[in-house]
């Protein structure tokens, strides 16, 4: 591969890299798609939900294909606030989610990533998998002109390097685009895929055919840490996992696999996975820094996409969505720059503007105060205290004991206010929580 030169080298064949490679290859650019895994997706794990809209934006009609690798379309989404042995739940199910075009599906990365990377290959991108990009090649002016790989004579040269190497973006760190993430900018998620017969899943979740349910849960299950759990239905399995902030994990001394095991033992969850067989355990980090952790997105000879640039909307459970959108926008920018014969840093900066003005930037900006809001709260008070108090309040609200309702309701309110740190505390929490999700 000595001195081979391409229009673009894309590092990482996840959703961001594959979307970038597809967009450029389709426009006729010469593109290499690199991945360190045995195949694209081999190293990847996510909760398990992908969304139609951005996929159709990228490849119109692709979600209608017979080979589109999904498990169930999501018709019901639930949120569970868990006490140690109780739940307060809200949720939404709509028949409209049960008819095409579907909104979202559950899936596995080992199926989805190779499928999407395959689209880039079909469009003409050259796949080079099982290969690590070990460093960036730069010219005397500092411009990035390629990557070193761990293959013999494996240097690859390109006009632009698309850095889409995921949450552990060693290339971006080498470039100095961002420093190593702080422990309060990332969470660690652990997950199990638990096999159950199709009929059992459909009975337990009240599903027909290919309908699917998602449950996000928080509260006692994160053991005093800031965290969020998830339970998604696949066709013949359940994806069950929990993510907690790495900074909290360091402080608490809780072991991730013990945390997951106690989630599985929670009375509200135990029943749903009863009799299931664990097919796979996995772990992956999730960027949680949002807008304020997002680095500069383009420079001299490079652009950066997806997890590598902290593009995860953790409030709305969107990651692959943002990755694909950013990869597409990076690809479009490079195609235009190439057509204009101007691949300067100034020309590539159009990608940064494009991302920040799109839903990707706007949504990440909307939740920009969420990380600092969560960091400022004692997770024990928020996830155990307040959610626990809410569960106790619900228990008392529904308990019939011939006491006057007015008295019971007054006591419930007093307990809730106390759990929030007094009347001022409740107002402050409500105000700061509101601001955290509204820019």
């Amino acid at each position: 591969m000595a001195k081979e030169h391409f229009d673009a080298v894309v590092v990482g064949a996840g959703p961001a890299g594959a979307a970038a490679a597809y967009t450029m290859a389709k426009a006729g650019l010469s593109v290499v798609l690199l991945d360190r895994g045995e195949f694209p997706g081999a190293k990847n794990m996510f909760g398990g939900i992908i969304y139609r809209h951005e996929l159709e934006e990228l490849i119109p009609g692709c979600t209608q294909e017979r080979t589109f690798p999904v498990e169930r379309h999501i018709t019901e989404q639930r949120y569970w606030l868990l006490g140690p042995e109780s739940v307060v739940s809200i949720g939404h199910k709509h028949e409209r989610f049960n008819s095409e075009p579907y909104n979202a599906w559950s899936t596995f990365r080992v199926k989805f990533d190779p499928w999407l990377a395959g689209k880039a290959e079909e469009a003409g991108a050259l796949p080079i998998y099982q290969t690590v990009a070990t460093g960036l090649i730069r010219d005397r002016s500092g411009r990035v002109i390629g990557v070193h790989t761990d293959r013999e004579d494996g240097d690859l040269y390109a006009d632009v390097v698309v850095i889409a190497d995921g949450v552990n973006s060693l290339l971006a760190e080498e470039l100095g685009v961002h420093r190593t993430w702080r422990p309060d900018e990332v969470s660690l998620a652990v997950k199990e895929v638990i096999a159950l017969p199709r009929e059992t899943i459909e009975e337990r979740f009240n599903l027909e055919g290919r309908e699917g349910t998602t449950i996000e849960f928080l509260g006692a299950t994160s053991q005093g840490m800031t965290g969020l759990g998830f339970l998604y239905t696949n066709r013949e399995s359940i994806s069950l996992g929990i993510g907690v902030m790495v900074s909290d994990l360091m402080r608490s001394g809780v072991k991730p696999y013990e945390l997951l095991e106690s989630v599985k033992a929670h009375p509200m969850i135990r029943r749903l996975i009863k009799g299931g067989e664990t097919k796979e355990y996995s772990a992956h980090m999730i960027p949680e820094g949002a807008w304020r952790s997002m680095p500069k997105l383009a420079g001299d000879g490079w652009v950066i996409c997806g997890d590598a640039a902290q593009m995860v909307n953790f409030v709305h459970r969107e990651g692959t969505n943002l990755a694909m959108a950013s990869g597409r926008m990076a690809g479009e920018t490079i195609v235009e720059a190439k057509a204009n014969g101007d691949l300067s840093a100034q020309a590539l900066a159009a990608y940064e503007r494009r991302v920040r003005e799109s839903f990707v930037g706007k949504d990440l900006k909307k939740i920009q105060r969420m990380p600092e809001f969560l960091a400022s709260q004692d997770p024990k008070q928020l996830f155990d205290g307040l959610i626990g108090a809410l569960n106790e309040a619900a228990f008392r609200f529904f308990t019939v004991d011939s006491r006057p309702k007015a008295q019971t309701h007054k006591e419930i309110m007093q307990d809730l206010i106390q759990a929030a740190g007094g009347p001022g505390g409740l107002l402050r929490l409500a105000w700061r929580g509101w601001r955290a999700i509204n820019g």
Binding site: K43, F108, Y129, V132, L188, S237, E261, Y281, H284, M285
Partner: protein
């Protein structure tokens, strides 16, 4: 470990067989370790949170030998230790291309 319920009664203890969990993951062993301790003396003086936060229990302090044992072949490549080691004492690289974990579901 166990789950403490609201009314104080102890729920059935939760036992974890991590080996069984790790056994579900497909690995292709790299020939050389991709993780290395930079300075064992730093680990000796550390509280060693890596022994608990690693999801695959890769790091285990061998008190007798006074050194950190690194079971790199169990590594899930999540990168938590790269970020959370209090002294950045872990030399963390990606395994050689095509080796390491290869999930079957993900």
């Amino acid at each position: 470990m166990s789950v403490q319920t609201q009314n104080g009664k102890q729920a059935a203890p939760v036992t974890v067989n991590l080996e069984a969990k790790l056994f579900t993951i497909r690995y292709k062993a790299d020939t050389a370790p991709h993780l290395a301790i930079r300075d064992q003396a730093v680990c000796a003086a550390c509280e060693r949170p890596c022994e608990t936060f690693c999801p695959a229990r890769v790091y285990e302090w061998q008190a007798g030998e006074g050194r950190m044992h690194v079971a790199f072949e169990n590594c899930l490549e999540c990168g938590t230790c790269r970020i959370a080691c209090p002294h950045q004492n872990i030399d963390w690289r990606y395994p050689t291309g095509g080796t390491g974990i290869a999930y079957r579901y993900g």
